[in-house]
Symmetry: C2
Subunit: 461 residues, 2 copies
């Protein structure tokens, strides 16, 4: 037995003494925890543990620290850049048993949940109190995972991302210590912003075990609409003018013609196969009406067709389900394919240019890649439909993705608006942050000197 | 000459070689830079430098790093907790020459300014483009200083604080390296949140030399109002119900009866001497009307009097000038006094209780301390009117302040909502953050191993 194997064996024995049958070395279980929803190749961890409490997570991390074994936290495994793939093996900490809403403070519009509560689960739980939590990445992800990747989604244009909506975190550090990053006040000037050091750190600085979140009252009125455009530029200009006028639109999403074709086929709809905006307005009855009228005028001036309205909850849900199913819809365009999902975010003044140049790259390529975007934030996604075992396809997707990212950076944008760095965007970190990467590295080294927390992600140490 | 004195002499010589007469060892200049607007006792730095560029700041820091001399950045000196007092001597970096707006991107609703541009200067500059920047601490502070202390003010209830409104920073690190913390995209998931590591770090991790900020379109309609209440509880309940209904009130400020008396006398006004809310609504004409009607109903149900309206810009400015002058108004209640300004922030459900218990402490004390608050955030201030050379008064202010802070912490609040830790709140850091302080300390040590950046602030190293 090698030294590494001996360490792993000792650690596994200690973990079993701690958690009993909540430690698994079963190959199927390990394989399930060796991948995410990305195109990145899986890697099998040495063991998977299922702690029930923050204290148990702390004990698990202490054992891993003692043996210098990698520890990777796992929520729903729905990330898109290989963020949770245990590329160095080690122990995966599946938080599935930590799925309780710990408390809801309706008066303060906040709540605290264990890390594995999903966004839909939380919304079910709080709906009767007239509350909702707006952040909605495509998947029904865990709120701990969403904090770890600084997730956002369709509502971010109005409600912000996880950056703005996490009030506090409970975190297990690399040596097993437990901290709470903040109290429950809406704002604070008391020292370094520990909460936002961990939001977006992708498990490389500690394991998030509980999350305190801002909540919102369910608006008095909500209305959704779909509007097709003659040109992509017209759709994007509608978005830009809406944002610049300060209209508090709740959602403003772009689907290109290819994506609309996919959505129609998958969700059995008959929208025009054109560049299309999906919109939603929240407010009072009068406020929603006023917002909607203004945006309709803007759209009409930019070659937009009539708004197809959905105001009943049932119809709105159907419309947004179609929007949220784009991944599956895209996949159905090429049965059996893998999806290489990528995203960038640029200042909104550069959005049309960035999208149009990218579409030109795609027109010249043999790969298909539908486009969908949270365009109110300047954020859009491509989903390359590839066979990940075909090197030529991977190479072509990489070529277009490289061009996309470098284009976004040249426009003062970022290599990822919401998917995180994981494995897939590591090579762009220096191009984006320059010397800033060395500051991140110094923080990583200070908080995880043995590099056991999700090693090999975001940047090399 | 001691070794320390020799180091200081060598450093000063090198600084003079770099900056010529933009280095001052004049006693008056040093004294001016040895204090802020707080009650904390001043301390004279060894020299004051006036760099013109980020590169010059970098060279200054490199010289200080070589000689292990403290470096303290200085903007307008308007902080309230001793945040810029150079308690260990060393070099004060006065950024007064770095006062240019570098660019405004009206389409993207953002701008980049040098650190010493003040909030009022920026607002003058962008007004013609129909834009404004909402964050307004009482003083006309520099935007670099506001970022460094995570400032907020009266508009935070709607627009957020510096935490939410800084998009990127240029920072000179402790070894003189220059980084830009982020690009200009509205959101990003690309690695650690460097921007928010420096926002609120009070100059202890680096010197902020430029700030990229979010801007907002000037609303189509704005209306301000003043409303007096029979009871403090009625005023606070009005705030709570307004927030819980999700009304996007732009400002909702509480002044207690004592503060109203001060404001009346100082600004020659004749408001009732009662607990009073100052409100402002932003939006479309119809939206403002709708918001105002709803809040008037809520106020009436809670014992509020009629709303006294100000809708013309001139009248609104007069109203808010009175609000912003509370420090001077308070001071006039006891001519020649010093003000010990303190602030806490609690979850809004605990706000009435926190304020009422604090008012009870004050009723039993021989000290006067008017109360004013950004109550929509759960944040309020006391201004103890003291003679800072009288130990008995200091002791009494400290006693009440200690009780106030521990009360706020027990209510899951924070020891400071917006003034920062500086010197004055250091002793509460462990009570608030527990083991979290060690994480802050580890970050400080990683980024400033020789502890030269504003040493002795926030926590002891």
């Amino acid at each position: 037995m090698t030294l590494a194997a001996e360490q792993t064996q000792s650690a596994t024995d200690e973990l079993k003494a701690l958690l009993g049958d909540r430690v698994s070395t079963n190959t199927t279980v390990r394989d399930t925890h060796g991948k995410d929803e990305s195109w990145h190749h899986p890697h099998r961890p040495d063991a998977v543990v299922f702690p029930n409490t923050t204290e148990e997570v702390s004990e698990v991390v202490k054992i891993c620290a003692k043996h210098k074994l990698p520890v990777v936290a796992y929520g729903t495994g729905t990330c898109l850049e290989g963020n949770v793939i245990p590329t160095s093996g080690g122990i995966v900490v599946d938080l599935m048993n930590m799925d309780q809403v710990l408390r809801v403070n309706a008066e303060d519009l906040d709540c605290t949940v264990q890390a594995r509560v999903t966004r839909k689960q939380l919304n079910e739980y709080i709906r009767d109190q007239g509350l909702f939590f707006p952040i909605d990445p495509g998947a029904d992800a865990s709120l701990g995972g969403m904090a770890a990747t600084r997730a956002s989604g369709t509502n971010a244009v109005r409600y912000g991302t996880m950056r703005e909506n996490v009030l506090a975190l409970t975190v297990v550090l690399a040596d097993g210590r437990i901290i709470k990053t903040s109290k429950r006040a809406r704002k604070s000037a008391a020292g370094y912003d520990l909460t936002r050091i961990f939001v977006g750190s992708e498990g490389t600085l500690g394991i998030i075990t509980a999350v305190t979140l801002r909540l919102y009252g369910i608006p008095e009125a909500m209305a959704s609409a779909v509007c097709s455009f003659d040109t992509l530029a017209g759709a994007v200009d509608t978005v830009i003018q809406t944002i610049q006028l300060g209209i508090p639109v709740a959602r403003i999403e772009l689907l290109d013609d290819l994506e609309m074709d996919a959505v129609n086929k998958f969700s059995k709809l008959d929208y025009p196969v054109k560049d299309t905006l999906f919109l939603e307005f929240h407010g009072t009855e009068a406020g929603v009406k006023e917002q909607a009228e203004t945006v309709q005028e803007i759209a009409a001036e930019n070659g937009g067709g009539d708004f197809k309205w959905a105001t009943k909850a049932e119809d709105r849900n159907k419309l947004w389900a179609a929007r949220h199913d784009v991944t599956y819809a895209s996949k159905a365009l090429r049965p059996g394919c893998d999806i290489w999902a990528t995203d960038v975010c640029v200042p909104i003044s550069r959005l049309a240019e960035c999208i149009l140049e990218t579409k030109k790259d795609l027109a010249d390529s043999f790969l298909m890649a539908p486009l969908v975007g949270h365009v109110g934030d300047g954020n859009f996604h491509l989903g390359f439909l590839i066979d990940r075992d075909d090197p030529k396809e991977l190479e072509e997707a990489e070529r277009i993705n490289d061009r996309l990212v470098m284009r976004a950076l040249a426009m003062e944008g970022t290599c990822t608006g919401e998917h995180g760095i994981g494995l897939g965007k590591m090579k762009f970190m220096t191009a984006e942050h320059g010397e800033g990467v060395s500051v991140m590295r110094a923080i990583k080294k200070a908080l995880d000197p043995d590099n056991i927390m999700n090693p090999g992600k975001i940047f090399t140490v």
